[in-house]
Subunit: 334 residues, 2 copies
DNA sequence: TTGAAAGCGCTACCAT
DNA sequence: ATGGTAGCGCTTTCAA
């Protein structure tokens, strides 16, 4: 339409200012592009250039605010950096994760951020072998060296149980999510350490649940409350589980926190406004997302083989009391 | 590696069973593919085939459970149908939306589902002009014929206010989100209609707020509570806003629902477990997501120009009382 | 039964 | 200052 060769169009439209092209031609081409509402075909560019300026994010549940927050911060960072983010939701299903990882590679994303399901790791080892840039977030594999941004689950669980112990609790229940993933194993380790150190009741029946759904939280809580000696406090590993637990507690006619104390392992915007203000462990999700993105891009844009980076981020402890609905933030340092 | 021509490999790997290729060759090729961990380059395929089996979803805030639920259901449907979903979060910024829509088209998605920011619509008209398949979800443009799946906001708002009127309220506040979008305009219309019909106090100051953030909910509520005659009930247009409103109400030392009643315009999994169980209007988000996906795919896979479909989905009214934390679902039919 | 060639849209390189 | 050409990886058509 501008009467010039495609290569010339290409040069003008990507603003190669250093190439000598008369202003007249430039304008003609730009006008034509505008009139035609021309959009470059990014597939073709990616094919030609070997770079897509796209990264993939694979999370187990985008409808859980925990991962939605992470996704949001990574989205914001990618936009700023001129990358497009592709988000995939595995629904905690290993098969879907493998599918998505392969699919994303197939479509030429420059790198991946993954919160893995952790029922298997072969596909992740494949990524390493191919030297494909990727960063694990929230969950990592302890027997695998890889880029990872995780939070300090063990320490947080320890401090939470210690806090309950100091309030006088002797039987603390632990509502776990899926037990074979990194975060839960770490939290369980911290829980057990505190149980030892504070000489609380050791009872496997107090460790209950195996899933991140509302129902599993509800049922696990009912189990614990039906014990001959039910726990007087609960440490709860997830946003949605917490709601199931509340339902069970209320149905049993119990009061929170008079009859049973709760600490939630993830904080979110509703925590202060629940039935009873919920004391929580807060994960700096936005920060984790940003760090994961920055780390990934560093690897994507570097020519050399950078060494892997693993960062464990400190959590914070938010004490919330029913007497005050005002959020008070206590440093986890005690 | 299998000693055959790429075209033969292509034929085998995509299971063109009708093409006569000896089983021996087939096995050789499949083995080689497996050993090499070969993954087809979807960019190249898309380029060649003119079809990417990818659809794009553009939402204003993925960290809001409202859109996260929609995203989740669309994700599930696409996976089942063999499509990959690309989710983009515009953060309610028009500029980002235009960027994402163009970007998605550039990368050859087969169709788009959009919950638009609605500060402008030129880029949407462009889609229509190019006959690009797309479906609007949750928010549509009243002066534009297009595929759309929305819920019955006006009716829902009317019934909610009517419900409050029947409880004896005379001054009902309306906490709106961004006022220039479809959903809010419709809700406002329903609100005003009920105010007329039930002869409630007409006062523009009772309509307050312009944003979907926690802060805007907080501040709008403070404004309403600071009126000479504060409202005795609130209709609240959003998940996050609701939390800001609760904060404001509690800070004022008021009790929910004794001093002030609340109805939330979106229901979610935490609604029953807030400070006071929240009566809500529930949008069938999963159903809306599925309908939007099915409609989009119908258009994507049809050769002809199908007529546009606009569907308005009924909402439901969930009455929740502080005396019972058990969810009681009342048909919106009364 | 398989290979060769063309082309999807783009851009880097080499010519002119 | 611009045009031609090749090739990214794939699939389809035609040829053998």
């Amino acid at each position: 339409m501008a009467g010039v060769h495609p290569s010339t169009v290409s040069r003008v439209l990507r603003g190669k200012e250093n190439i000598p092209i008369p202003e007249a031609t430039r304008q003609r081409i730009k006008k034509a592009a505008k009139d035609l509402k021309y959009l470059p075909d990014e597939r073709a560019r990616a094919l030609r250039l070997g770079k897509s300026h796209t990264i993939g994010l694979v999370v187990p549940d985008i409808s859980n605010v925990f991962f939605a927050e992470i996704a949001k911060s990574i989205e914001i960072e990618s936009y700023k950096a001129g990358y497009t983010l592709v988000v995939c939701d595995t629904n905690e299903e290993q098969e879907k994760e493998v599918h998505f990882v392969n699919n994303l590679i197939s479509r030429g994303v420059d790198g991946l951020i993954i919160a893995p399901v952790q029922d298997s790791d072969g596909h992740i080892f494949d990524l390493k072998e191919k030297k494909y840039p990727f960063v694990l977030i929230d969950r990592c594999f302890e027997d695998m060296e890889a880029n990872a941004i995780v939070s300090d689950n063990e320490d947080a669980a320890f401090k939470a149980v210690a806090y309950l112990a100091r309030l006088g609790h002797k039987r603390v229940g632990f509502l776990s999510g899926r037990q074979n993933i990194y975060t839960i194993r770490k939290r369980l380790a911290g829980y057990k350490k505190a149980v030892e150190e504070y000489n609380l009741e050791r009872n496997e029946a107090l460790i209950c649940g195996n899933g991140f759904t509302f129902e599993s939280g509800y049922e696990a809580t009912l189990e614990i409350l039906s014990l001959p000696n039910p726990s007087t406090a609960l440490l709860i590993s997830g946003n949605i589980i917490t709601l199931g637990a509340i339902k069970a507690i209320l149905e049993k006619g119990l009061n929170i926190p008079d009859d049973i104390s709760m600490i939630g392992f993830t904080d979110n915007i509703v925590s202060p406004y629940l039935v009873c203000p919920l004391t929580t462990i807060s994960h700096p999700l936005r920060e984790m997302g940003k760090k994961a993105f920055d780390l990934l891009i560093k690897h994507v844009e570097s020519k050399d083989n950078l060494p892997f980076t693993e960062e464990i981020i400190k959590t914070q402890f938010h004490v919330r009391r029913s007497t005050d609905r005002v959020l008070s933030q206590v440093e986890a340092a005690w």
